[in-house]
Structure formats: C-alpha cells, structure tokens
C-alpha cells in the first residue's frame, strides 16, 4: 500500500511529503478502501444508475 501511495503521489504533488506523512496517508487510505469495499454488500445495483451527485436534495 505504502509503495502504491508513494507512486501515485510522486507526480501529483509539487512538493514531496515526509515519510511520516506518507505513512499516515497510506494507513488512512487502506482503512477507507477496506470500509468502501463493504459498501458492495449493499443493494447498490437497485439504485437508479442515472443518479448523480448534483441531484442530492433537489426536487
């Protein structure tokens, strides 16, 4: 995970992150991905595929 994060962020940021910052980001990304994977247990295929972000709360 740490290597992948380093690779992704190397060109995305103009200034390098410190090893400590990279380690914390990798840990947080790993946790978020683990949690996001659990969303697949929900009946997501029943959601209207036309749903988009700007529709939240609209008529």
């Amino acid at each position: 995970m740490r290597a992948e994060i380093e690779r992704r962020l190397r060109d995305a940021l103009s200034d390098p992150l410190s090893p400590e910052e990279l380690a914390e980001i990798a840990e947080r990304v790993g946790f978020l991905r683990q949690q996001a994977a659990r969303l697949c247990e929900l009946p997501l295929r029943e959601v209207d595929p036309a749903f988009g972000p700007v529709e939240a709360g609209r008529e």
Partner: protein, 461 residues
C-alpha cells in the same frame, strides 16, 4: 452606544427603520467591539472599516429619502472568507489565496448588498473549509468568546465567534459536513444549513460540490430566518440552484410544535456523547413534548455506512477541485489539509461511484423516516468546545481526537441534502450546547418553527 452591538438583527432592523438608530451608529458599535475584542478572538481576516462606513452612510441616506430595502437595510454583517467579494481579498483561510482579490461578488454577497446589508469584512475559517476545528496554520486559531482558551469549532470559526461576541449581527457560513452548525453549537448561536439547492453557491470557493451548502449564522432563530429570506432563491449561475419560490420564513415562525411528530434516532447521535450534552438535549426534547410535540424513537440503519460514504465523497471531490494547485503549489497548503487532499487523490473511482449509490440508499432510508415524523432531534455536536491545546477528548465511550467529534452528528444531513439547524440549548462544562433539528427537503419552515418554539421555551418568553 453601549449595548447597541448586542441587539438582535431583528431588533436593530426595527430601530433602523424607525430611525431611532442609524446604520452608521450600528456600524461604529460593531467596529468598536471588534477593536476591543478581536485581537484576542481573531475572528476577522480582513476588516473593511472604511468601506463599511461608506455603505452605512449610503443606507442612512436612502432611509432619509424614504427608501427601505427590507429587514437587512443598514445591518452590519460579516462574511466567511470563502465568499468572493469584488475588490476585497478572499483567502478561503489559505496561504495559497493570500493575495487573491476577486473582481465579482458571490451571488449571496450580491443578494445581501441588494437587501441593504453592510459588510464589515471577511471572517476567518479553517483552511479551504477542509476541517471542523478553529485551527488555521496560516492565520492562527479563532478563540471562543465564551472561553478564549477553547476553540469555536469550524470551519466557519470566525463567523461563530464574531456573531456570538456581538462583532456583527449575522454572518453567512458554508457547511459541507457541519461547518455552519458546529461553530454555531459551540459558540451558542443559531446556524442553519438549508436544503441543497436553496441557496446559490456561485462564487463560493468549493470544498466538495455535492455536499457544499451556504446558510445563515445569527443570534436568534428570527434573525436566521430573515437572513435566509435574503440569501435564498434561484440563481442561473448555479446549476444546482432551485427555482422553487422562497417562503416568508420569518413570518411563519410562531406556529408552535403542537401536533408535530418529532423523531429521536436510536443510532449514532447518542454514542460518543458528553453526558452533560446528552442531558441538555434530552431535557429539551422533554420540554418540547410538554409543548405538544409527539416524540417517538426512529431507526436509521443506513447510519452504519454513512461515514464511509461521506469519506469517499468529500475526499475525492475536494482532491478533484485542488488537483491543479496540488501539482504546482502543494507546499503552500498547511500540512493537515495537504494530507487530506493527498488522501483524496488515492480514492478509487469505483469506491467514489459506489459511495454515490450508497448515498442514494441513505437518502431513501431518511425519506422513509420522514414519512413517519416531521423532524429529527439530536445533539448538534456531542461535546462542548474543546480547549485549543486539547488534541484528544474523553467521553464515557472512550478517547478520540477532538476533530472526530466535530461533525459526527451533522455530516449525514449534507449527504441527504436536507435542512438542519443548531439552536442553543444550555451548557456543558459552562460552554454552549446545540440542539440539532433536521427536517424534510425544502421544509426549512418546519425546522425553523420548531427551533423558534424551543427558543421561546429556553428563553422563557
């Protein structure tokens, strides 16, 4: 002049219209209060004293000529520093935009000017609104007027402090996960996040476009309603803006709660809650029951995955907006925001899209509950304002970083896009506690009506 700055917006408005007070006098009262208190509180980022005096003088001339623009005529307000202001620096709490001077006003700023409000200047905030404490690595922390050793919550930290301390009569904040309601709760004022689409976001520096809302912060429910009337309405420049007509919110506040069905969610909102905060909110619920509200428990199973959905959405959307600056000026961000944005760059596309779908399920869950009840009541923030040097806060469930608590009870209503307000409801550890009232989409009237009914009970009116 003493005490003029402490009037509510509605009280000042009546005095101005009757010409017992001038806008210049009200503006000077605020400027004097700012001079006395803001070196400590640090709520203003850019004070526009000369511009405010000129605007106030013009409003007074208009009144003398018999022209009254409405309840905000001549009322001095403060603006969160992510709202673009023509000719006035707009930093969004960042070093990156330290010297940015927009050439046009945000729609809400234009609306307030057209309504006759006087702008005192721009209010401090968390960097790019991407955090909910009162910290700012570039401009220093905003301090809580109730205890300067404590924070205000964020991200509309300066708005919370300035309104609570009487430095202005109201403000406009932004709220992506709770950034209006959190500082409102911790500073003891009223903060309303309206329905998504109710208030134009055009000209506001975005954090996460599907979650961002703008709304009023004020000292009373009536003041918040008056501000919302001026802020709300269709704006062709914001594609998410609604064409629904704007109701006269302030005229419909006094209906009481008799017969309204009020839901108390079983999940999420009561865990990690300071015992005194829980006590204050439960007392408020009981008093509203005595006023005639029908109280019932409700269940929202979707809250189990709400935090994951919110994490994917806010991180990815914020990173998308900041991507170009990250590639060229990442060293100009504070460390915490830079790390959150970097984390956002690592959110997988499939996770973001699944989160959008899961949000729809969450909205369905809330829609089901809003068929059973007219509103939900919860604590707005589960703890009182933490000390500025306090990284961790202990409650009976354990110990967690202060940031963890700040938007824990508010963020879900950004995902549903439905209105929610925080109103003062007593104290814990001597600091303000907020009662959160959430309602159905487009039913700000109901939310404000309950808030006003509570305010009357709370103040013994």
């Amino acid at each position: 002049m003493s005490g003029l700055a402490d009037l509510s917006l509605a009280e000042l408005s009546r005095e101005l219209r009757a010409r017992r007070v001038t806008s210049i006098e009200a503006t000077e009262a605020c400027l004097q209060r700012i001079a006395e208190r803001d070196e400590l509180l640090n709520s203003f980022r850019t004070l526009c004293a000369d511009e405010a005096r000129a605007e106030a003088a013009e409003r007074d001339r208009e009144l003398a000529d018999g022209r009254w623009r409405g309840p905000l005529h001549g009322v001095p307000l403060g603006l969160k520093d992510l709202l673009q202001t023509a000719g006035i620096r707009t930093t969004a709490g960042s070093a990156l935009l330290r010297d940015w001077v927009p050439d046009a006003d945000a729609t809400v700023v234009r609306r307030l000017r057209n309504a006759g409000a006087v702008s005192l200047g721009k209010l401090n905030m968390y960097e790019f609104a991407f955090g909910a404490t009162s910290d700012n690595p570039h401009y220093g922390p905003v301090r809580n007027p109730h205890d300067p050793a404590r924070g205000t919550g964020g991200s509309s930290s300066g708005s919370g402090a300035a309104v609570a301390a009487g430095l202005c009569y109201g403000s406009v904040g932004s709220d992506t996960g709770g950034s209006i309601r959190c500082p409102a709760a911790l500073c003891g004022i009223v903060g309303l996040k309206p329905t998504y689409g109710r208030v134009s976001r055009h000209g506001a520096v975005p954090l996460a476009w599907s979650l961002d809302h703008l709304g009023p912060m004020a000292r009373t429910v009536t003041d918040a309603a008056l501000l919302l009337e001026a802020l709300a309405g269709h704006d062709p420049a914001d594609p998410t803006s609604s064409t629904r007509p704007v109701p006269p919110y302030a005229a419909r506040l006094e209906g009481g709660v008799r017969g309204l069905r009020v839901g108390i969610p079983r999940e999420l909102f009561w865990s990690w809650c300071h015992s005194e905060v829980e006590l204050r909110v439960r007392e408020a619920i009981e008093l509203l029951r005595r006023e005639g509200a029908e109280i019932r428990e409700v269940s929202l199973p979707s809250l189990d995955y709400a935090a994951t959905v919110q994490g994917c959405l806010i991180l990815a959307e914020a990173a998308a907006y900041h991507r170009e600056w990250l590639a060229t000026r990442s060293g100009d961000y504070g460390s915490r925001v830079r790390m959150r944005l970097a984390e956002g760059l690592c959110v997988e596309a499939a996770d973001y899209l699944n989160a959008l779908q899961a949000r729809q399920l969450l909205r369905d869950d809330f829609s089901r509950v809003f068929q059973e009840v007219d509103a939900l009541l919860t604590p707005a923030v589960p703890i009182p304002a933490p000390r500025l040097d306090q990284e961790y806060v202990a409650v009976h469930d354990g110990v967690a970083p202060a940031q963890f608590y700040m938007v824990r009870n508010t963020f879900v209503f950004n995902m549903t896009g439905t209105p929610a307000v925080s109103v003062p409801c007593g104290a814990a550890e001597g600091m303000p506690v907020g009662l959160q009232i959430a309602g159905r989409a487009w039913e700000e009237e109901t939310v404000l009506r309950i808030a006003r009914a509570w305010e009357r009970v709370f103040r013994g009116e």
